[in-house]
Chain length 412, copies 2
Amino acid sequence: MSEPHVVVLGGGFGGLSACRVLRNTGCRVTLLDRRNHHVFQPLLYQVATATLSPGDIAAPIRWVLRHARNVRVLLGEAARVNVEARRVELSDGDSVEYDYLIVATGASHTYFGHPGWEPNAPGLKTLEDALEIRRRVLLAFERAERETDPARRRELLTFALVGGGPTGVELAGTLAEIARQTLRDEFRSIDTSAARIVLVEAGPTILATFPEKLRNAAREALRRLRVEVRENTTVTDVDAHGVWLGSERLDAGTVIWAAGVAASPLVATLGAPLDRAGRVHVQPDLSIPGHPEVFVVGDAASFTQEGHPLPGVAQVAIQQAAHAARGILRRLKGDQPVTFVYRDLGNLAIIGRGSAIADLPRLEFSGPLAWLFWLFLHIFKLIGFRNRLVVMLQWALAYVTFQRSVRLITER
Amino acid sequence: MSEPHVVVLGGGFGGLSACRVLRNTGCRVTLLDRRNHHVFQPLLYQVATATLSPGDIAAPIRWVLRHARNVRVLLGEAARVNVEARRVELSDGDSVEYDYLIVATGASHTYFGHPGWEPNAPGLKTLEDALEIRRRVLLAFERAERETDPARRRELLTFALVGGGPTGVELAGTLAEIARQTLRDEFRSIDTSAARIVLVEAGPTILATFPEKLRNAAREALRRLRVEVRENTTVTDVDAHGVWLGSERLDAGTVIWAAGVAASPLVATLGAPLDRAGRVHVQPDLSIPGHPEVFVVGDAASFTQEGHPLPGVAQVAIQQAAHAARGILRRLKGDQPVTFVYRDLGNLAIIGRGSAIADLPRLEFSGPLAWLFWLFLHIFKLIGFRNRLVVMLQWALAYVTFQRSVRLITER
């Protein structure tokens, strides 16, 4: 019998984790991604806010896996999976057959039934998204400098962030620093430090997954940066000039969406049961019902542990993908599937320069120490020796000079 | 009388040089550019070949000029100049009036009457151009990895560079290094080191502006990198699958245009005499005939010194723009205009890792020393302390690891 062929869809945290387990085993592995690069998503907001370059937080997937001689990396977009024929069909007409499949295609943002909001409120999931947000933020200041109508100028200098999770908080804090510090001396007609940054959260609290003490610390840090935090506030409409919060109008030249996520549409073609966010209800071993050879992991999967659904964070994807890969090796040896158990390693969020919150299994803390911890953990986890050095240097320079170094408006 | 208003068009080497002279003088200055950033063009090929990020070689214009309190930076595209009304009209309908005008809008590439070649043979003048070339080069290898037809695969692994000036030579040398070194271990179906890199020059020699000894050194360095140098060879047609060299067909999946340049079309609206490349024939003091208040500098100007037209290099733009700015200050004091004299500081070209040629006023040399000289001079001239540090680090890492760190294919 020839080597079993494992196809991994997606080169994110999950896909790479699966390949690491399968590396130099008896399997032949094909990793398929529509991008040639892995993105270190926790730092994506730093690209969106002009601190880091796209190249600083991304690494070519085939470079990451260059020593895994049994892994072949292909650039291509999976359009659908034919689970009966055990075949992945690509959007360009090609197809790839598999013996085992690991689906790690992640999630994109959702507008809760209002897809028309997207052009006016881009989300932050890919490098392209980050560059688009960077472009909009920088253009808003440029347009305000040329604008003579005071109302329109105020609108251009108002930024609305929708969604009070870590991404929304991180964007709000960084935007406030850009307006209050970075750009202060460079404009002649506007006072950038007067910019309004409004963080809107529909639920009762920002950073809902954190303990109350840390949420309060985060709220206080945002208050010092003059970010307006609006909790219990639902966005009811978005247009080109701002948002409606129920009957209240907020004129804002830039709206950024950091709210809902939905699983990638590919998983709907698996024929397995989905939850409301389009994620696959997986079996205890992460395979799908009726197809023990197909696994779904990370943001594309819905998995409940001790009554709570697992959050959409990198650690879940990494642990699940490794579990699925080990499940394949186990099955090849004829062993029984094993139930996945998530081990929570903690939760971090950064708010601004020298300010973060850390919720670890036995420890909660906030302030400069949490910020340093966040920084070193993320640099350490970055893929590639070179990226670590460059990011550390960029960060040190940004800290010392208050400068955001990648303030480029490039055309689409 | 109110302060005289000087408008500078373009934030390249010329525009910034003019602003430096006019900084904190009695003039009110407005610099207009359609981009928010200055690009250090000599390093553009390094972005195109995935060594540096766009942010490494660019700086926001308003950051560069933040201490020049009499200079206002505006983001906008000049569509035409009305020299009679002394007014610059913007493409968005606004206009800016001036007392003095310095046109430093540079050049773009030209296809010698074949504008249809552009989609198949992009040139390298802007950051967007560099990202497009990077995308095409990286995609060619990705597609070759998935291609099963050997002829098509050979085509995908053939790169044609049109134009044997410094840009063509630099691109050819770097592409050869990428194929022979950087990507060697990462593909499973193709041998990247077998890629063909063909440098086509219509004239009798590559690097025509350099002395013969240095040209020979460059040819030898390219030969060692297995770059095919084709001199006295004219490209007669370009299509999606390669180029025609007279009756000879060269199938090439990627064609890059590094040949002709033409002045930006804006200068045609000045009503002054133009040369064949669309550049303005300027007066000895760099003003245009009949309008002593309008100056044209750099690549947009045609200026002959001792019987030779000045080359389209940064030094010419920098010296001319400073001369024009000083001419304005002179005129404000009632002094007579002065003839511009170009001071040649030398010519450099880089071929590959540890290989370059240097043609200085009293010295010619090639090899690792010329490469080091090139490197330190360019890092030194880069704008911004931060960029210098980051670029030096990137370079050191690329030198030691052979890696090109910014191998991202992002969507347009």
